[in-house]
Each structure stands twice: as C-alpha cells, then as structure tokens.
C-alpha cells in the first residue's frame, strides 16, 4: 500500500517536470537534431503560418512555401521548404529550427532557440543595445508549432 502511494506521488511530481520547457542552454543536439519536444508536448501546426509570416519567425523572408502561397513575397535566400517533412525527421527539423548552424555549419539562417553568444545584440529592431537578457526569437512552444507544420510538408 505504502509503496503504491509513494509511486503515485512520484508519478504526480514527475508529470509536470516532464512537461517542463527545455531552456535554450539545456538543449541537447545530436548530429544537429533534437530528439524530444522542447515543451514535452506536440506542437500545433495551425499556429505556424502566423509565426512564419511576419511573426517572430519571419521564415518567409528567406524561404518559399507553396502551402503558404496566400502570403506574398516569399524569399529565396534559403531553399523552398516544400517536402521538408519528407526530407527530414521531426528531430532533425526541430534541430534546424532551434539552431540551424548545428546542421548547416556557418548557415545564414538565424538560430531561433538561442539566447546568448551574439555580437552587439540589439533591443529588437530599434538599433539600440539590448536592455536586458536576450530572449530567444521563438518560444519553445513556437518552435514546436513550426516543427509540427514542417512535418506536414510532404513530397507529393
């Protein structure tokens, strides 16, 4: 009886701990990939288009995405993302979105889940110095939402 209670208590405690966000500095990259969800939960692909448009991701500035063709002016600095969900595993995509430089050495793609190591970090787009600690470009939740969306981009 006692044992069961203890196990139950442990499970209850462990529950929220598992769902806790992994902080940018604690992310473990294996060959550029991140195995498990940064939030402990699956992302919601429906939130991704807003993030990838002029939102915090601004992915469309550099990438064309056919599925988002209602958004104007897709860039061509990076490869089109069509079929990304077939080319890469979820863990690889999570790694690319969080810090593409772990997969593509020296990439021009910004690191979206990183908050240190910058040269003259600014206060957003004001041109002024950052006033406090730098927040990552995307939250853990936003990274997961974008990854969930990328996984839907399959080759036909």
């Amino acid at each position: 009886m006692k044992l069961t209670k203890l196990t139950l208590a442990a499970a209850l405690l462990a529950g929220p701990a598992i769902a806790e966000e992994i902080m940018p500095v604690d992310v473990a990259y294996v060959d550029g990939a991140i195995e498990s969800s940064l939030t402990g939960m699956p992302g919601d692909a429906a939130n991704a288009p807003a993030i990838m448009d002029k939102g915090a991701g601004n992915c469309i500035a550099c990438h064309a995405v056919s599925a988002l063709s209602d958004i104007p002016f897709h860039g061509e600095v990076g490869p089109p993302l069509d079929g990304a969900g077939s080319r890469w595993s979820e863990a690889e995509l999570r790694g690319i979105v969080a810090n593409a430089k772990m997969t593509f050495e020296g990439s021009v793609m910004p690191s979206f889940y990183k908050n240190d190591g910058f040269t003259r970090p600014g206060d957003g787009y004001t041109g002024k110095a950052a006033s406090g600690p730098v927040q990552p470009l995307l939250t853990a939740q936003q990274v997961e939402d974008v990854v969930a969306f990328l996984m839907t981009l399959k080759d036909e």
């Binding site: 061509e76 050495e105 910004p110 600014g122 041109g127």
Partner: protein, 286 residues
Amino acid sequence: MKKRTATTSLTWLALASVSLAAPAFADEDAALVVNGEIEMVTETEAPAHLDGALSTIRSGWTFRTSETQALQMDDFDNPAMVFVDQAAEAWNTADGSEGKSCASCHEGAETMTGLRASMPKWNEAAGEVWTMEMYINDCREKRMGAEPWGWKAQPMLNMTALIGAQSRGLPMNVAIDGPVQETWEKGKEIYYTRYGQLELSCANCHEDNYDNYIRADHLSQGQTNGFPVYRLKQANLIAVHNRFKGCIRDTMAETYSEGSPEFVALELYVASRGNGLTVETPAVRN
C-alpha cells in the same frame, strides 16, 4: 553534416527558379547613360583585393526595377536634383563669422570633380581617414566660422550630393594601402562580422546572397557608388552611414552611429569593393 549543406544547396538552387512570384525584374543588360551623355560602368571585373569573393561587381542600379532605373537616366526625372540645386545655392551663400561661402575659396562646384571617386581618403593633417562630411564640416568650422552640419541634416545631404555629382561617370578608385590600410582592415573586419540576434554580416546578404530576394527586397551587392542616394520610400537623400545603420539594425543589433570611427572604416572598405564602378551620385533607389 557539412555534406548535407552541399547537397541541399544544389537541390534548392534548381528549385528556386520555378516557385517564386517575384516583382518585375529589371533588364540586367540595360546600359545606364545619364542625360544621354554620361556613360556609367554598372558592371565590371571585381578589384583584385576581393580575391575572388566576387567575380564581377555590379552597381545597385542593375538590381532595381526598370521604373526606378529610368528615374536615374535623366536629371529632369531624377527627384534628387532639387536637392542638388539647393546645394548649388548654398555653395554660393556666405555663412558664419568669416562671411565666406564655399565659392569664396573653391570657385565653382566643378572644381570638386574627381573628389568623390577617391573618398573616403587619408587626411594627412588629421592623421586619419576622412569622409566627405568631415571635409565639409572642417571648411565650415575652420574657414567659414560656421556651425558644423549634422550628418543627416538636409544641407549636409544636399552638399554631399552636389559635390558627388561632379564626379559622375568617373570610376571609383579609393586607396586601400599606405596610411589607410589599418582603417581598411578594420572596415573589412566589420563587413564580415555577424552582428545581432540574427547573426548576419554585410557579406551574408550582399556577397553570399546578392540577386536573391529577401522578402520583397532584391538584394544588391550593397555598393556605395551612388551615395547619397535618393530613396523613393523616404522621398529624400540618404547618407551612406544612415544606410549602414539601417542594415545593421535589421540584424537586431546595436548599430554604430553616423560618423563613428567604425562607420568611417566600413565606408572605406565598402567603397573599395566598388573600385571600378562609376560614381552615380545621386542615384535613385526604391
């Protein structure tokens, strides 16, 4: 992992051309002849110091739409010319405690021909690299007894446009060695530094990605041979340090300020990347 970079790049290069609805391309082979007489070099072999980083250098004019390009082909259409005219007036107007104008010492503005093509350059007396703005303010303070102009002040923008325009059609030829070398090296270092939270260097956009679209913007090589340029968006002349500031700000970085030693060094380095392109001041941009 590096292997992947190569393969992906190849795939997307092939894909990139089919999937994009981009704004109307300008005719890349169009020639820029201003007023039917000043023949511009808008594309030429890259200077040797670029060491293969670029094989050809291209004026920002070649990246603009045909509508914007046309505005630069005739002074009657070039919206910057009203500012040049204002400066021509200021040139002859006495200012400051000495009661002198630019013309008192320099006669006509055409005596400035060739200057812009070698700017920024070493100033022996000051022992540092000087830009056009610094020369202008030196005259105002020391010889005219007048207040210096701010780098973004309208009379300063106008005057740099007037003086620059005297060199239209002459090839950029800034010195990079001798006393300026140290400053040039510093500028080069800044050019390749990945600033801000987006970790982007000038080279990431203007060397690695020129001719690509970033959102709706057609990336040029970021050449400075047309500065100060008239920007349709701002309906005004824009000084080169102001442009640098905007570009660094867009990397989510703390910028340097107009006239800072960093931007003077960067101006020299970027100008040297355009050695061989002709001065187009005042160019027109969107």
